[in-house]
């Protein structure tokens, strides 16, 4: 029990962050976290330490997420082809969002931009979304992502590239106005 408590204490925030990014809303993320740690609790003695504990937990969470999705019986993932990301008009080459001269942290204080980014990521087919979240948001290596998802590195990189191009295209189509920081941030400023 002590070992499980330590595992939970050390990793619950990490897995919740991942779950929230995957699910997009708190209650589903909490369900996923509980499912993940329940499976970890049961499999704890079988964990041989071949991978890092965090990689093991990401793997359990990813599988739990796919199981939850199968239960909802959504449409199967569509494939993204590179052809569809070739711009068709001049406006599509750059991001139509007000971030010039801003650091990413400053840019993301714009609520509209955060919403546009979250929406773009949420619209990704699940298998691409998971790769993007693990690689670009959770900052894992392509090798670690491959271990978690049961893919070789080449497949990880291919999916990651398409996922990034998808999100880029969604943001280039947004046409957001000038940066409007959150209300509370504006008050602080």
């Amino acid at each position: 029990m002590k070992a499980f408590d330590k595992l939970y204490r050390d990793h619950v925030d990490l897995i919740y962050r991942f779950a929230h990014r995957l699910c997009g809303e708190p209650e589903a993320a909490k369900d996923l976290v509980q499912d993940t740690f329940l499976n970890a609790y049961r499999g704890f003695e079988r964990f041989r330490g071949d991978a890092q504990v965090s990689t093991w937990l990401y793997t359990i969470a990813s599988r739990a997420c796919l199981r939850m999705r199968r239960r909802r019986k959504g449409a199967p993932d569509r494939e993204l082809s590179l052809e569809e990301f070739i711009p068709t008009s001049d406006g599509e080459f750059r991001l139509q969002i007000p971030i010039d001269g801003l650091s990413p942290e400053e840019a993301l204080q714009n609520k509209q931009l955060r919403h546009a980014l979250d929406t773009a990521i949420d619209q990704l087919p699940k298998k691409y979304k998971m790769v993007l979240i693990l690689r670009d948001m959770e900052d894992l290596s392509a090798k670690e992502v491959g271990t978690i998802m049961g893919l070789n590195e080449r497949a990880v990189k291919s999916r990651l590239h398409r996922a990034r191009l998808f999100v880029r295209r969604q943001l280039s189509a947004q046409g957001l106005g000038q940066a409007e920081p959150d209300h509370e941030h504006a008050l602080l400023g």
């Binding site: 962050r17 590179l82 990301f85 750059r94 991001l95 990413p104 993301l108 955060r114 590239h161 990034r164």
Partner: protein, 101 residues
């Protein structure tokens, strides 16, 4: 970078067409490698070739910048945290379910 031809769109004349003397297949070749390029995973000679292309192709250069910005926004995107109460309640639920089953 060459634009994709959409249905109903008239081909542009040679004078207004994006100034490429290397053709759109070169841009497509670049498009395929852009993530590897910005992740610094390509061999030096390929990087050099891409940089040379970007210097000659403003659209590709803008496109690469926009892809870099996209990745950077993803990397810095904030995620909400858990409250101490949430952590405690979830722990209770996990242990309760583990004992029941």
């Amino acid at each position: 970078m060459a634009k994709r031809q959409t249905s109903g769109q008239r081909p542009r004349s040679s004078t207004t067409r994006h100034q490429h003397d290397h053709g759109k297949s070169r841009c497509l070749g670049i498009l395929r490698q852009l993530s590897a390029y910005i992740d610094d995973e390509l061999a030096g000679d390929i990087c050099h070739e891409i940089r040379r292309h970007l210097g000659a192709c403003p659209n590709c250069e803008v496109f690469v910048a926009s892809l870099r910005q996209t990745v950077s926004l993803c990397r810095h995107s904030p995620a909400p945290g858990l409250s101490p109460i949430d952590r405690a309640v979830m722990r209770q639920n996990i242990l309760k379910t583990a004992r029941i089953r």
